[in-house]
């Protein structure tokens, strides 16, 4: 049995093989692998007896699913209304320009994956940026770039598989 089949079998058993729990299964898969690898998706479709096309429909419909590996760090910028009013648009522009990355994309050196999300519910301290789960409040374009350049220098940065 291939490695992916074993992992998928394990994930499916967590939900008693209930195909209705497809989304939680895919979420588990993503948290294990960092993204949804094609072989794993094929295995999941086969074992659940669900068409692969449905898995792709789900994977491409929901913003949180990724079909490509992510960078070493997760950078999430909140684009909620308040963050937007307080300048998140300019922060996003600055990051995209400086690191040549698009929202949802990963930098070429795979240093970080940049995501612009709707609202993370921390409006009182807007604009907010999250780096690997750590919150930064009252961010400015300059501050954001400084934080991200800090990642580049960070010696502990090890590129994930």
């Amino acid at each position: 049995m291939a490695d992916e089949d074993k992992l998928i079998e394990q994930i499916i058993s967590r939900y008693d093989g209930d195909a209705g729990m497809l989304i939680p299964m895919m979420q588990d898969l993503q948290s294990e692998c960092g993204y949804l690898p094609p072989d794993h998706l094929r295995s999941l479709a086969k074992q659940l007896e669900v068409p692969l096309s449905r898995l792709f429909a789900v994977a491409t419909f929901y913003a949180s699913f990724r079909l490509a590996p992510k960078g070493a760090h997760d950078v999430t910028l909140c684009m909620g209304t308040v963050c937007f009013l307080k300048g998140a648009g300019a922060i996003s522009e600055a990051i995209c320009k400086e690191f040549r990355v698009e929202p949802g994309g990963t930098t070429r050196d795979r240093l970080f994956t940049f995501q612009a999300v709707n609202c993370i519910g921390a409006c009182a301290v807007a604009p907010v940026m999250l780096v690997d789960g750590k919150y930064y409040d009252g961010v400015t374009p300059a501050a954001a770039l400084e934080i991200l350049y800090g990642l580049a220098k960070d010696k502990t940065t090890v590129e994930k598989e």
Binding site: I23, R54, F61, A63, V82, C119, G121, A122, A124, V125
Partner: protein, 622 residues
Amino acid sequence: MTLLGHSRLGSIAELERMPEELLSLRPASAKSVHVCTGPGCAVKGAVRLYELFCMAVKNAGADVEIQAKGVGCHGLCEYGPIVLVQPGDIFYQRVEEPDVAEIFRETILGGRLVDRLLYQNPSTGQKADTVDEIPFYKVQQRIALAHNGLIDPTKITDYIAQGGYSALAKVLSLMTPEEVISEVEIAGLRGRGGGGFPTARKWRSCRQAEASPKYVICNGDEGDPGAFMDRAIMEGNPHSVIEGILIGAYAIGSEQGYIYVRNEYPLSVERLKEAIEQARELGLLGENILGTSFSFNIRINRGGGAFVCGESTALMASLEGRPGEPRAKYVHTVESGLWEKPTNLNNVETWANVPHIINRGGKWFAGIGTEKSKGTKVFSLVGKIRNSGLVEVPMGISLRRIIDEIGGGVPDGKRFKAVQTGGPSGGCIPAEHLDARVDFDELTKLGSMMGSGGMIVMDEDTCMVNVAKYFTNFLQNESCGKCTTCREALAQMMYILDRITKGQGEVGDVEELGNLAVLLEGTALCALGKTAANPVMSTIRYFRDEYDAHILDKRCPAKECRGLFRYEIDPEACKACGICLKSCPADAITGEKKVPHVIDQDKCTLCGICWEKCPFTAVLKV
């Protein structure tokens, strides 16, 4: 005995004895320090503060009765991190790590106030010793948030000690399902998720539906940007939501519930999981709850990051493992919802209100609010406002009181322009309607809506066309694409708005936006599509002059849309420091020492760097 130090409760009487048992374990003189670890405070390092207080308590030894608690959002996020000392309701704001030792020594052990950390009223300069003296809290009335900031959300015993699950006990021992629904009907509770549908009517339809099994769902997919009420409840008092769901399930006749939580709220998922685990351990969830014939289980599902899943039929599609596309609702979900079975869905805040209604009676609840909107509503009051945070007010209060008295008005001497309510389905309400009452029907009349409770304040620097564009862009990205109108009309609206904000607007654009809005309202499939033009239409209704300025004069009155205003240097204010000159990427600024600098408008690319860098605010937008 279990991890909780308490065995499974075998009867209702055992649950009813529990608060007393719990209280008897702690002397009345016991002191406690509550550290807010809600999102606003956590960002500012509150979790570390909590750890430091825990360490201080440990070091103080066993002979001193002190308890450190990490609690849910306290509301006044602007002044976070917030620390509350009991007894005495002493409120400390903007607490930092070095303050911990002082608070512990002076206040907790010594009973003296640390003056420096007290809240100071910005207008009177007066310090507030207790929570009640702070204007932000004075006007509020807390029901759904009643225990937020008081209880430790990770401990079911804390909730029970405050009277938690007593409503469930009451329902199971004294009330028939029909009586529960009648009580909620008397209360006049309406859905807090946005629609405002009468909760009791929904419950009754679902109860009367013939098919089985029946499902209940808690909608925690708080998707409106700028709203975090449900997050605060799920993270600050998860058991109130679970208790509400249990009562609803009993009334409806359901044995399986789901809580659908937004993907962006990992802490909410964690808190709810813990809470469900503990409730199960005590026998408040599972088979034969409290020794009765009532059995009920709850499962948590995480969303996938799709705004449309806040719509009930889309949410159910998502729970079934499909893309979250809404369906037409000629067959109601209370008859055929999840897995084509009768399904009752309510919002987090709606559920959290239920235990209070059962405990204190529908009449009490109906005594609060207006004729058709009963009770209170939680709002996240954010944007260009002094006291950003979470507020709960009785329905019927005026917008002005929320913004001025609770919110403290617009900061930095700026002028209030509008308040946006209802999220992307809502609209912007201008200054002339600030005396309007906040209830479901009044806000709809003004072209906005109650929505889930986001309240975003905008000042004179906010361009209303740009705000409309922001929401349209948001909705265009989040449209599921199933129905043609929503998919295509929003793209066209976005195209027109984009042109207007770039100075390429044409006469007739506003009318065209109006036509598309009519089309959307009349033909879109789901409520999100039908209301998608609200942000555009409400800004046209109240701020038509701003649209005209963009289109006719090629000018952005709020000076936000790039290209529709210029930068100039005020020769009076310019100190000729040369900072702007050095930082200008287009070499558009000229000047010498002691000579005020000048921007060459032909070379200027309007990047705004000089405006950001000038230490004397001598660069002006004109």
